[in-house]
Symmetry: C2
Subunit: 156 residues, 2 copies
DNA sequence: TCTATTACGTACCAGTTTGGTACGAATTGG
DNA sequence: CCAATTCGTACCAAACTGGTACGTAATAGA
């Protein structure tokens, strides 16, 4: 199962790329080329980020985007939420009223604890941290071919 | 955004329900009625759980399903993985080879730490724990209308 | 001040995945 | 031998995601 949508993944890549050059104002086309992402999709992601106030947009001939706040003050959770909406484990976590089993479902109250753990994991990492070498976060190999490591896959 | 698929959510509900009556062998139709879930969907979920070895299926006239292991020895993560597959934050977490940006994408190594946090959050909760009152896990209100609480929603 | 260039923002369309259903094959107890 | 029950496969519909195209707004230069 994949937790993050492609767009949310792109959003983190784009935001991190912006964080790498804080003072620069860059347009969507250039950003797309530098990140190797489709131009139109990048524009769509940037729009969502701008709407959430994470990046500021300047129009006109010399316009472009830049981060609205320092990279240390923007968490991955914010970027993901800007694109995919609030984070919730189950349907009833986000739309409580839609669940017909509200009165007797025994499992529902327990999701909140797991929900919180996920949210905190995403909130704990800032864009700035995404730029630092991975080794600073955990003992992750920086080998050229990280697929040798099992770190990226979680198996029960 | 919703992290768990509906089927995975159903899977936890069904597995928890089975855990509530450990010795009983029950068929899919009865299980569907008791959980208020569509019969055909329950059968599909049970098939996935049986395939993963979490429940044992008995065929024939007096057949049915039961947990293959004690409820304390089955984690929510296993149930989810049985239905939705391995847990991964991003596409490249599960299918590393599919990512064309492998060589220069700076964000990828960092996902593993978040991945691990999510996996541990799901692994830490057993089916047995899902049956105990929520208050034992965190200070969650047990009021008849839990929607009054904000615990279920995570906002950045 | 006008015009042309540049880029943002919105609306629309196609593909894929997920959720749900129905039918047939196999197995066991009476 | 028959009936009941489950497993397994194949199929269909709906929702969502991803991608594209077009219109609108703003600025720089003349």
């Amino acid at each position: 199962m994949i937790i993050l949508s492609k767009l949310a993944d792109y959003g983190v890549i784009i935001a991190t790329h912006l964080a790498a050059f804080p003072a620069r104002q860059v347009n969507a086309t250039t950003l797309a080329a530098e990140t190797r992402l489709p131009q139109a999709t990048v524009a769509k992601v940037l729009k969502a980020l701008a709407h959430a106030g994470l990046v500021s947009a300047a129009r006109g001939a010399t316009g472009g985007y830049r981060l609205a706040r320092p990279a240390t003050a923007i968490s991955v959770a914010e970027v993901v939420a800007a694109i995919d909406g609030d984070i919730g484990l189950t349907q009833c976590s986000v739309h409580v009223e839609d669940c017909a089993r509200t009165t007797y479902c025994p499992t529902r109250p327990h999701w909140s604890a797991i929900n919180r753990a996920v949210g905190e994991a995403l909130s704990a990492v800032s864009l700035d941290a995404m730029l630092t070498p991975a080794a600073f976060i955990r003992g992750i190999s920086l080998s050229p071919n990280p697929s040798q490591s099992d770190e990226h896959r979680f198996s029960a």
